[in-house]
Symmetry: C2
Subunit: 87 residues, 2 copies
DNA sequence: TAAGTATTTAGTTATTTACTTAAATATTAG
DNA sequence: CTAATATTTAAGTAAATAACTAAATACTTA
């Protein structure tokens, strides 16, 4: 649902996580190393991003790799684009 | 700032206001008639949308007309587009 | 199997958000 | 000038959010 997407995007930490994942896939631990914030807090943010389908996670052994799920970004572009189309 | 924009977009009432303004410019009162919510609440939402530069307001007599400010939507598209460009 | 590492879940708390009603401001019309 | 209309500002409140620490889960390795 688009509401979850916009809610997810409304937090700067979560948008920064997306920026990091744009460069390459990362584990939860690697992601949390980029922030002055506890691992559980980052874990919660990741959960929200996942629920909004903005990221995907894949378990590999004891690590969980996170990656961007680009499909939802298309929806965002479509949403925003409607507002500056000529009527 | 992009943060204000995403915060503004994170609420469904505010997104619906943008949808209404996409069709035509409206006064604060006309906007609030579309919602089961007090006028002051809508006024607060409009203030947030204005701070995020998503809408523009113009006073005409005792009325205030609100209209879309399409420029920021370009920024949203640019932001989202970066995430599905080929590297 | 026991210890260590990676990550999440649970429980708590302070802050922010979205609403309400009441009061204030500004414009128009009699 | 007074009353009516349009809108915002102020003050208060319940619910949601974002953070923390402690505990639980899952995998790996000695």
């Amino acid at each position: 649902m688009l509401n979850d997407v916009f809610k997810a995007l409304s937090d700067p930490t979560r948008r920064k996580i997306l920026d990091l994942l744009k460069e390459k896939d990362l584990t939860a631990g690697e992601i949390s190393n980029h922030f002055n914030m506890s691992k559980p807090s980052i874990s919660q943010h990741l959960k929200l991003l996942k629920n909004a389908q903005l990221v995907h996670d894949e378990k590999k052994g004891q690590y969980i790799f996170y990656s961007l799920n680009t499909t939802v970004f298309h929806d965002i572009v479509s949403w925003a684009f409607r507002f500056y189309e000529k009527k």
